[in-house]
Symmetry: C2
């Protein structure tokens, strides 16, 4: 058993030993909201947004992007489990700001081991065994944080399965001080609107 | 400002006020692992697996499924940020066990408000304003938890951009007691193997 696996299982045993009344929590989030944010290890949404178990859905991926899969999750979140407000939270120092589709594709075509940064450039020794499968993936990289938050809030807002009554908030989490900073243009784009007539597609 | 937004911002202010040395954390996860799990509000991976800020990547979506977007995130996780071990954690009582693609598509075609369960059946008043856009989405529902964990570990293991050296663990989190329960077939499927020759695609 690896050291990490052992540590995780030990921590889990300790958590479970004082589980208490959490066994009675309902599946639907008690506070009826959801947070979409980045997988970054420095972010703990339960801590930075004050969530207890049972409070809110948390959706995370590289960048906190409004990918098809994030939207699938958000639609399940309101349609079956009743959330009404959604936060989109990107963050300073995000890894997704530091490369492009082209860089990622080039690195993966060289080899499948971890690349390193030297003098601000991603480097791979190019030992072989790479794959061009990465050419067919949109890595959802970002150039500008405010722009990515606004873009993702708009993407969710305009999705045909997202009802107009859902409120969407756009924030940037600052990894240097733990603060959520509002993105005004995203807040405006995410406001609830009058019910729209959704045209049937197909 | 909504009550939820006010509560979240107040909690955030309190968190940021004692942020301390977390401002110095590096972008790469210190403990070099990642957890893929469900967005369910009852799950707090930092608590159930013992993570401090800076320790590990956390990827979450409806079900904790190995969707294309989750695999995008995992590839970024090892390729640019050096993780070496990945956990796939599904959980008992998951909402994704309680419906099918057909049920979800039917509900969304009726209206875009929250549906309710009556006598074990999903019901929508069918007030209009629905959309058939859901017909084109795979909702990644599940029928059997062990099967979904095994299937997702195998999906990740066999992906052309996932190196053989990465170890993948498969677990089920029990919402009734907080315990992680091993899925032996998934653990076997997720073992590291000898380096494969990845054929170039395309």
């Amino acid at each position: 058993m690896s050291q990490i696996l052992e540590e995780v299982l030990n921590a889990n045993q300790s958590y479970a030993s004082s589980f208490g009344s959490k066994s009675k929590l309902a599946a639907a989030p008690a506070r009826q909201f959801a947070i979409l944010t980045c997988m970054d290890s420095r972010l703990d949404p339960a801590k930075f947004a004050g969530l207890a178990e049972g409070d809110a859905h948390v959706i995370r991926n590289a960048g906190g992007r409004a990918s098809d899969n994030a939207i699938r999750s958000l639609v399940v979140s309101y349609k079956l489990l009743g959330t009404k407000e959604w936060f989109v939270v990107h963050h300073t120092g995000c890894g997704m700001l530091q490369f492009t589709n082209e860089i990622m594709r080039d690195l993966l075509s060289q080899r499948l081991e971890t690349a390193t940064v030297r003098n601000g450039q991603w480097k791979d020794p190019g030992a072989g065994g790479g794959s061009t499968a990465g050419d067919y993936i949109d890595w959802l990289t970002m150039r500008d944080l405010e722009h990515s938050v606004v873009s993702d809030v708009k993407q969710i807002r305009s999705h045909p399965l997202v009802p107009a009554r859902i409120v969407i908030y756009g924030y940037i989490y600052d990894v240097s001080n733990g603060r959520l900073v509002e993105v005004p243009e995203a807040m405006k784009a995410g406001q609830a609107g009058p019910a729209r007539q959704h045209a049937a597609i197909g």
